[in-house]
């Protein structure tokens, strides 16, 4: 079973050479720390920066340079700043290659719900609806089950949707799954996790074909 760092490390393997990547708040933000240093990758944040670097040293903190999580950050060589409309031109125009974001629920046809729980304070969707509606490649980072042990991988989302048929891959504390026309296809198991455990924790259609390898995480 993976912890959040483990999920981030596994997702980092999905970040390929020459990818522009948008990272959501939470686990996705951690992914940047584990991407292969030998490939060329640039991180975009939808508030208006491309070429985002690490957090600044204490004395370099600049209130005017933040990411979409409102965290102070730095720029790397080749970075650029731009306005919000241009930022979403990058996203809506499919110039961002990979979006990694969290979710409350994912359905086995790729629907995602991650912005609203009826009856609770709604904070808003931010850029999530634009991201999921446009990105070619969307990976969801989340726990396989919620705090009371219910599956977050469903036949149909119960919460208000963020987007339709958009999630391509899911990396949870238990498994890596791909969304196919037959449902969630199990690709990898987390270290020490059995197929049986994954089956129990998955409410949507689960496809288990052939040998399912264990994830390799450094």
């Amino acid at each position: 079973m993976l912890d959040k760092i483990g999920i981030a490390k596994r997702i980092a393997q999905e970040v390929k050479d020459r990818y522009y990547v948008n990272l959501g708040i939470g686990i996705p933000t951690l992914v940047a720390n584990y991407v292969n240093k030998n490939i060329e990758v640039e991180f975009q944040s939808e508030n208006g920066i491309l070429g985002m670097g690490a957090f600044p040293y204490d004395e370099d903190v600049d209130a005017d340079i933040i990411n979409a999580g409102k965290q102070t950050i730095t720029t790397l060589p080749g970075a650029s700043f731009f306005d919000s409309a241009t930022s979403f031109s990058m996203i809506r125009g499919k110039h961002v290659d990979l979006t990694i974001l969290g979710a409350m629920e994912v359905s086995d046809n790729g629907d995602i719900a991650n912005w609203k729980i009826p009856g609770k304070m709604v904070k808003g969707m931010g850029g999530a609806m634009d991201l999921v509606a446009s990105a070619e490649n969307i990976i969801v980072a989340m726990m396989h089950t919620n705090k009371v042990g219910e599956s977050k991988l469903l036949k149909k989302c119960s919460l208000p949707l963020t987007g339709l048929n958009c999630v391509k891959k899911i990396v949870t504390n238990l498994a890596v799954l791909e969304v196919t026309s037959s449902g969630f296809q199990l690709l990898e198991r987390a270290p020490g996790v059995s197929i049986e455990t994954i089956k129990k924790a998955t409410a949507g259609r689960l496809v288990v074909k052939g040998e399912i390898p264990e994830m390799k995480i450094s």
Binding site: G48, P56, Y57, A63, D64
Partner: protein, 234 residues
């Protein structure tokens, strides 16, 4: 050169009245028009509709207007981190229209650009699409989104000149350029105001034609929401 220079927020916000719709730049507390927000508090105008990506925090940014119950309706993409906001929303005092961030930015730009409507895939198949016209292009469903209409747009820039030209710094740019020219009157407050001719025409982010009033702001606090740092490894 058409001179737009005014002395301060008080001069620049003349004409703002209760019931108006006001756009305000900024992302979180980054790049918000601090001087103008303070002036709006002083003016005590009520029943405002505010178009702004976020709603500030309890004691800063638009949170100051919320505290004084000056806002009737917020049009935003994300409104977390604000207890007073939550209280007013749950009690029904405050109306909230949540819009995907990219659609929010583009609807501002559309207003500025004389484009009454455009299509975007964001929000199709969700609550956001309810009651909106949808349409297929290239095998994919899209929603029709319309340009905003606002009375005032209030933005914050780094450098500006008397002609109204603006230059932004870092991610304090965000929604500010898209809101310039998107309302009947656009007010820009800047950290540094220069005479016309001091800024390089190639380096200007927003041309003065989109700005009706400009002034140099004071005492910028630039509050940081998440001060994240890297520790030096000796």
């Amino acid at each position: 050169m058409i001179n737009k220079k005014l002395l301060n927020a008080q001069e620049a916000l003349v004409g703002i009245k209760s019931e108006m719709t006001i756009m305000l730049g900024g992302f979180g507390l980054c790049g918000i028009p601090e001087n103008s927000i303070s002036e709006l508090v002083k003016l005590g105008v009520k029943n405002l509709t505010c178009i702004s990506n976020n709603a500030g925090v309890d004691d800063f940014g638009l949170g100051l207007l919320l505290k004084d119950k000056q806002i009737d309706k917020m049009i935003s993409s994300y409104v977390g981190e604000n207890n007073e906001f939550e209280r007013q929303m749950l009690s029904g005092e405050l109306k909230v229209d949540l819009i995907p961030q990219g659609s929010l930015a583009e609807r501002c730009r559309a207003a500025k650009s004389g484009i009454p409507a455009f299509f975007t895939p964001a929000g199709y198949g969700t609550e956001v699409g309810e009651g909106k016209e949808s349409r297929e292009f290239n095998g994919k469903m899209h929603l029709m989104e319309t340009a905003f209409k606002a009375d005032f747009s209030i933005v914050k820039a780094w450098k500006g000149d008397e002609a109204g030209n603006l230059i932004f710094k870092g991610t304090a740019r965000n929604f500010n350029p898209n809101m310039c020219g998107a309302a009947k009157v656009t007010v820009a407050e800047v950290e540094e105001l220069y005479p016309a001719g001091e800024l390089d025409p190639n380096e200007i982010h927003v041309s003065g034609i989109f700005i009706q009033r400009i002034f140099e702001g004071k005492n910028y606090e630039k509050r940081i929401e998440q001060r994240t740092i890297t520790n030096r490894q000796c």
